[in-house]
Amino acid sequence: MDYLIIVIGAVFVNNIVLNRFLGICPFIGVSSKVETAIGMTGAVAFVMTLATIITYLLQNYILIPFGITFMQTITFILIIASLVQLVEIILKKVSPPMYQALGIFLPLITTNCAILGVAILAVQNNYNLLESVVFGLANAIGFGLALIIFAGIREHLEFMNVPKAMKGVPIAFVVAGLLSLAFMGFSGIV
């Protein structure tokens, strides 16, 4: 039951993009096509889940016993940076077309605040290992959900008659605001 609450809370109620404002850069950047949005989601899901596990172990078996929790930011970001490198190498080997499609955004996962943010939030919420994994995965799903819905809307937006001054990024933000408003309907469930 606890796990279900974590999942619903992370995917709908406190959606990582629309409510917590983490990972806005890829949300605006790679959301012009549904296909790339799906690829990005896959990469983020993989890195986010792994990062949550490793940072959990690091926090509880190294940082806390040695009393160096102030090193949290530096160590976490280094772990994430190496993980991203790993994913990049694997993807280049296994699926070159996907690697081509994601292009510049793969290294940018390092500076995707969603990954570091979720790792820090899992530590702050005092989750145990299994809860951290569920939390990481659920947030990745929430990220994917928001990204793919938004990409779908933006594909249609291309053909809409938008006022000239609002074309491009401004209208994207207003749409994101409305999407966020829709997600607010979920508040109070958990």
Partner: protein, 201 residues
């Protein structure tokens, strides 16, 4: 003259938020009041100036292949400093900004300036670039914070208890303090900033 352009480009022409769309996560998340926006902006400015300084000093010592990890470690050290300083001296702001202080380390603006500017330019230009970009970022956050606070709760807080104004009594448009208002207000501000830019340049 060249240095003045280097400094002033961060305000309108290449404003990190309104023109380059960098560092949007803290921009949207912490701007529930003008004070929070200003605090976040100044914290980021400190990190940006210091990391630009260090990167431009060590730029010739770093092998090109490991430059990004090196930049991240430099930035993370200064972020840890900011984290400790805000916790010690402005605990209420630390509480308000919460997770977004450690997240300065993944602010694309900071890494972006290290990579695009400080690793190619001399020390003085890098400091000025960091200062201009940082203050431009702080300005954008303060403006967005002010808009959301005025529309949402009818007040304007630049410094609590010192520069605090109440503009109208009663309920404002609550949505502007909540998450959706951040997106919508930023969308309209980007549009206005773009118009302003076209007028000026």
């Amino acid at each position: 003259m060249k240095q003045w352009q280097n400094f002033s480009k961060g305000f309108i022409k290449d404003n990190p938020v309104f023109a380059l769309f960098l560092g949007l996560c803290p921009t949207l998340a912490v701007t529930t009041s003008a004070y929070n926006g200003l605090g976040m902006g100044l914290a980021t400015t400190f990190v940006l100036v210091m990391s630009n300084l260090v990167v431009s000093i060590i730029k010739n010592l770093i092998p090109a292949k490991v430059r990004i990890p090196t930049f991240i470690v430099v930035i993370a050290s200064f972020v840890t400093m900011v984290e400790m300083l805000t916790e010690a001296f402005v605990p209420d702001l630390y509480e308000q900004l919460g997770i977004f202080i450690p997240l300065i380390v993944v602010n694309c603006l900071v890494l972006g300036r290290s990579e695009a500017f400080a690793s190619k330019n001399d020390i003085v230009s890098s400091i000025i670039d960091g200062l201009g970009m940082g203050l431009g970022f702080a300005m954008a956050l303060t403006v967005l914070g002010a808009v959301r606070e005025i529309l949402g709760s009818g007040s304007l807080t630049l410094i609590p208890e010192l520069l605090e104004f109440t503009l109208y009594e009663g309920d404002g448009m609550l949505v502007f303090v909540l998450a959706p208002g951040a997106f919508i207000a930023l969308g309209y501000l980007i549009m206005l900033a773009d118009k302003l830019k076209q007028k000026m340049y």
